[in-house]
């Protein structure tokens, strides 16, 4: 019969295509770039990729269930705004207060220093997770379709973000910004480990972008175990045949809530990084919308089907990479900036249409209906 390897290759065909496509494109990019294959370019690329990659991973989970999360961009933005208050890192701490309906309510002081930063990050991630949990609760207990439930919760999150930052502002601890938006060597020297980054065995790793390491870490520590868990498999089962999943005794409701909560956590990761990268909090509604729509595109390009049941977050990461590489190309090949959106649009349209060409080979028309 078939060998294990051929089976695995065939099943992961979409992902492999995305990986190959990206690799070729990225290689070309470095070849054409005047400063190609340098640490500086890698760092810049990694920083531009991270947030969208996180949001795309967040989008992947509801899509695997056959649904959609229109609030990922808004949730990311909300956490971004929270981070601009909580990650200030000032030495004496940052006083927090709410101004609501003319009342000034003092909330205490956010501690400064490294422990304060850690606390701030944890709180921000918790907020993201809570947002995801709320999405899950509305979908499961409210019995509202995900697309419309998240449309509504997205409005709520963007509202909260606007409340936090009606104007862009805030501040992020400079060390934090430096450590996370550069290479591992800078990270080590800021955090004072590995001889401040000078240890000889560390040398080959010193140039690796921190954002890239973070991305790989989150993918390995969060996504891979989730996929191998019962909850993760239940998500795939729901996307493939929800009725059968229920009949087989799978905890469908619980898995849905876990799925959205995980999405919230990942969106929160993206929001924290964006705040750190831009060193401010910005409740930018069009940007939130763009992130949401781009996350959908990344998910599709990465090989996950909008109908659910197949694909994965690793694919979505590569989908993000491919999307970003396209904009990198514009810089390198000096495409007129006015033409860039057009190229982006046409490439996106072509990419998603190609995947559907498989449908043209269908010989029994009944099979093309869901």
């Amino acid at each position: 019969m078939h060998s294990d390897l051929t089976i695995r290759l065939r099943q992961n065909f979409g992902l492999l295509t995305a990986v190959v496509l990206f690799s070729v494109a990225y290689l070309l990019y470095h070849v054409a770039h005047p400063k190609g294959f340098s640490s500086a370019v890698l760092i810049q690329n990694a920083n531009e990729v991270f947030t969208l990659a996180m949001v795309s991973m967040a989008q992947t989970v509801p899509v695997l269930m056959g649904g959609l999360d229109l609030s990922v961009g808004a949730l990311m933005t909300m956490v971004d705004c929270f981070a601009s208050y909580l990650l200030v890192g000032a030495a004496g701490g940052t006083p927090l207060a709410i101004d609501l309906f003319g009342l000034h309510i003092a909330l205490g002081t956010m501690p400064g220093g490294p422990s304060g930063i850690m606390l701030g990050i944890v709180i921000c991630l918790a907020i993201g997770t809570l947002g995801g949990l709320l999405n899950g609760i509305v979908v499961v207990y409210g019995r509202i379709q995900p697309i419309i439930a998240t449309l509504a919760t997205g409005a709520i999150y963007i509202g909260i973000a606007l409340f936090l930052r009606p104007q862009p502002g805030g501040k992020i601890d400079e060390d934090l910004n430096w450590a996370l938006t550069n290479a591992l060597g800078d990270f080590a020297s800021t955090v004072h480990i590995f001889d401040d980054g000078a240890a000889p065995w560390f040398a080959p790793f010193a140039g690796v972008p921190t954002a890239f390491v973070l991305l790989a870490l989150i993918a390995l520590v969060v996504w891979v175990p989730f996929r191998r868990s019962v909850a993760g498999r239940t998500i795939y089962a729901i996307g493939s045949a929800e009725g059968a999943a229920f009949m087989s005794g799978l905890a469908v409701d619980r898995a849905k809530i876990i799925a959205f909560t995980l999405g919230g956590f990942l969106a929160g990761c993206g929001g924290v990084f964006l705040a750190i990268q831009t060193a401010s909090g910005n409740a930018d509604i069009p940007q939130a919308g763009a992130y949401t729509l781009n996350s959908i595109a990344s998910v599709v390009i990465g090989g996950t089907s909008l109908l659910g049941g197949t694909g994965g977050a690793i694919g979505s990461i590569f989908g993000t990479l491919i999307l970003r590489v396209i904009s990198f190309f514009f810089r390198v090949f000096d495409i007129a900036p006015l033409l860039q959106p057009l190229f982006e649009g046409m490439i996106l349209l072509a990419a998603v249409s190609i995947g559907a060409l498989r449908m043209l080979r269908v010989r029994n028309t009944l099979e093309s209906f869901r």
Binding site: R233, Y236, A237, L250, G309, N364
Partner: protein, 518 residues
């Protein structure tokens, strides 16, 4: 034995269940014991499926008690029933198509390591269970949707025995299996019986029941009629119990007529590798049957004749004119006038949430217009005529069609097509899951339509129906027509033999090619 509930593994007493106004189960007392294969017989609508659903925890009974080994049980879900040792293999598969065989077999309680699913242990478990059902050749990594239907059913069975059931329920589990796999299941059931597992077995295949069952229970109209041991009743008696009336009046008589000219003819019809060189003709006024085992291409042939398949080669002529059927819309058009009653009424024949009127009118709206708008008067008259013609029991025409019973739903599908006044009617197993009364009405209707000049091609999985209704039957095997039976040759022996592609003595003159002979 009937009604005895003491000391049995499973004992039901006083079980009743209603769905709206329909009494699915009425005060049922039933028992089955360990180490026995217990068949449950009855026409559709008799309550077999509901009985199974109640025992397997899918639906709760309205009243009555379920006892397992003397202890009363209340199953809140299928998972609860499985935990108590009751495992059911349903007709509609409970497998997840996009997951692997190994994942499916250990779907709800997989082996774990460090809190995560242990893929290697899971695979080993799958290999063991697949070997137990005799399917070692299935690679556990394959996704379920890549497997043919018969293999999927075997995976479903492997999954069920993996739960180590004390009571195994098989609901039409062999209907999708190839003959080779059926033998494996029989062997498995024998092993389970020896291991003291109680087995409940629902099947419509009488020869299977005769071969396997130690005991049988007959249900009719939601009531438990009788339970008897193997050999205590003849087939005729059993059928009598099932339908409650004499079987000889079931089929309308066939007129003696010379074979008419072909209204629909195919020559060397081929499609992918599923249809090979089909040459067939159906004349106006004839009912031609399609027979053979499941999955030999019968459904594909009907779809091809309705324009659903692409890449069909060969010639098709309708009333002498060659046509290239490209879509159902074209097949339905006035000069071709073909209708297809599809296989699954719930997903292919009806829009369940829409009203009865909308479902009836959908195929003939083009005839019900005045100007660009739908003429509501014309529509009402046509719908009323359709309902009357098929005697469809309807409460309110604006109700959703999902509120009708299975038999009435099927009538809606047929009435919908009769409203287009078709000259050629294709029927894909129309009586599957229909109660006896409606079946008889359908047989009469088919003969009536034929007498009025329609050409009818009728696929059925029921030999009796083929013999009783059809003027000629073409048996398909592996995408070809291997034999055509008519007159005295049209009997069960020949049908079965041809279905299995075995030559019988009376077949000595038939050539083994795909062409049909009179």
């Amino acid at each position: 034995m009937p009604g005895a509930t003491e000391g049995e593994f499973l004992a039901l007493s006083g079980i009743s269940k209603r769905y709206g106004g329909v009494r699915a189960l009425e005060n049922v007392d039933f028992a089955c014991g360990r180490g026995l294969i217990h068949a449950v017989l009855g026409e559709n609508g008799a309550g077999k499926s509901t009985l199974i659903k109640v025992v397997a925890g899918v639906v709760p009974p309205d009243s009555g008690v379920i006892k397992l080994e003397g202890v009363a049980q209340r199953f809140s879900s299928p998972a609860a029933a499985t935990a108590a040792g009751v495992v059911c293999v349903f007709q509609e598969l409970s497998l997840i198509p996009d997951l692997s065989v190994a994942d499916n077999i250990s779907l709800s309680a997989p082996p774990k390591r460090f809190g995560l699913i242990d893929a290697r242990a899971q695979r080993r478990r799958a290999e063991e269970l697949l070997a137990e059902v005799g399917c070692e050749d299935v690679n556990p990594l394959l996704r379920v949707h890549d497997l043919p239907l018969s293999r999927r059913q075997m995976v479903e069975i492997a999954k069920a025995i993996g739960r180590r059931p004390k009571l195994l329920i098989l609901d039409e589990a062999t209907s999708a299996l190839t003959s080779v796999d059926v033998e494996k299941v029989y062997a498995l059931l024998a092993r389970l019986k020896a291991a003291n597992v109680a087995i409940l077995y629902i099947s419509h295949r009488m020869h299977e029941v005769e071969a396997l069952a130690d005991r049988a229970s007959v249900f009719r109209n939601g009531r438990h009629i009788e339970t008897f041991d193997k050999g205590a009743r003849t087939t005729a008696e059993i059928v009598q119990l099932m339908i409650g009336r004499d079987i000889s009046t079931q089929y309308p008589s066939k007129p003696e007529r010379p074979r008419p000219a072909a209204a629909l003819r195919t020559e060397n019809l081929c499609w992918e590798n599923r249809l090979q060189s089909i040459s067939l003709d159906v004349g106006a006024g004839e009912i031609v049957g399609l027979g053979g085992l499941d999955g030999q291409g019968q459904k594909m042939l009907l779809l091809a004749l309705f324009g659903v398949l692409r890449g069909v080669t060969g010639t098709t002529t309708v009333n002498g004119r060659a046509v290239r059927l490209a879509s159902p819309r074209q097949a339905k058009s006035r000069d071709i006038s073909v209708a297809l009653i599809p296989e699954d009424r719930k997903t292919e024949g009806l829009m369940l949430p829409m009203s009865i009127t909308d479902n009836l009118a959908i195929a003939s709206l083009g005839n019900l217009l005045s100007g660009p708008f739908v003429d509501q008067g014309k529509e009402r008259r046509a719908v009323d005529a359709g309902i009357a013609r098929l005697s469809i029991r309807v409460g309110n025409k604006t109700d959703a069609v999902s509120t009708l019973s299975g038999g009435n739903q099927q009538k809606v599908v047929i009435a919908k097509w009769l409203m287009t006044q078709p000259r050629i009617i294709l029927l894909n197993d129309p009586t599957r899951g229909i109660d006896v009364g409606t079946k008889q009405e359908l047989y009469r209707l088919m003969r009536e339509l034929a007498d009025q000049g329609a050409a009818i091609l009728f696929y059925s999985t029921d030999y009796d129906e083929l013999i009783g209704c059809c003027d000629r039957v073409a048996i398909m095997y592996d995408g070809r027509i291997v034999r055509e039976l008519a007159g005295v040759d049209l009997n069960e022996t020949n049908i079965i033999a041809s279905s299995l592609n075995i030559e019988t003595a009376s077949q000595a003159v038939t050539s083994p090619s795909g062409t049909a002979h009179a």
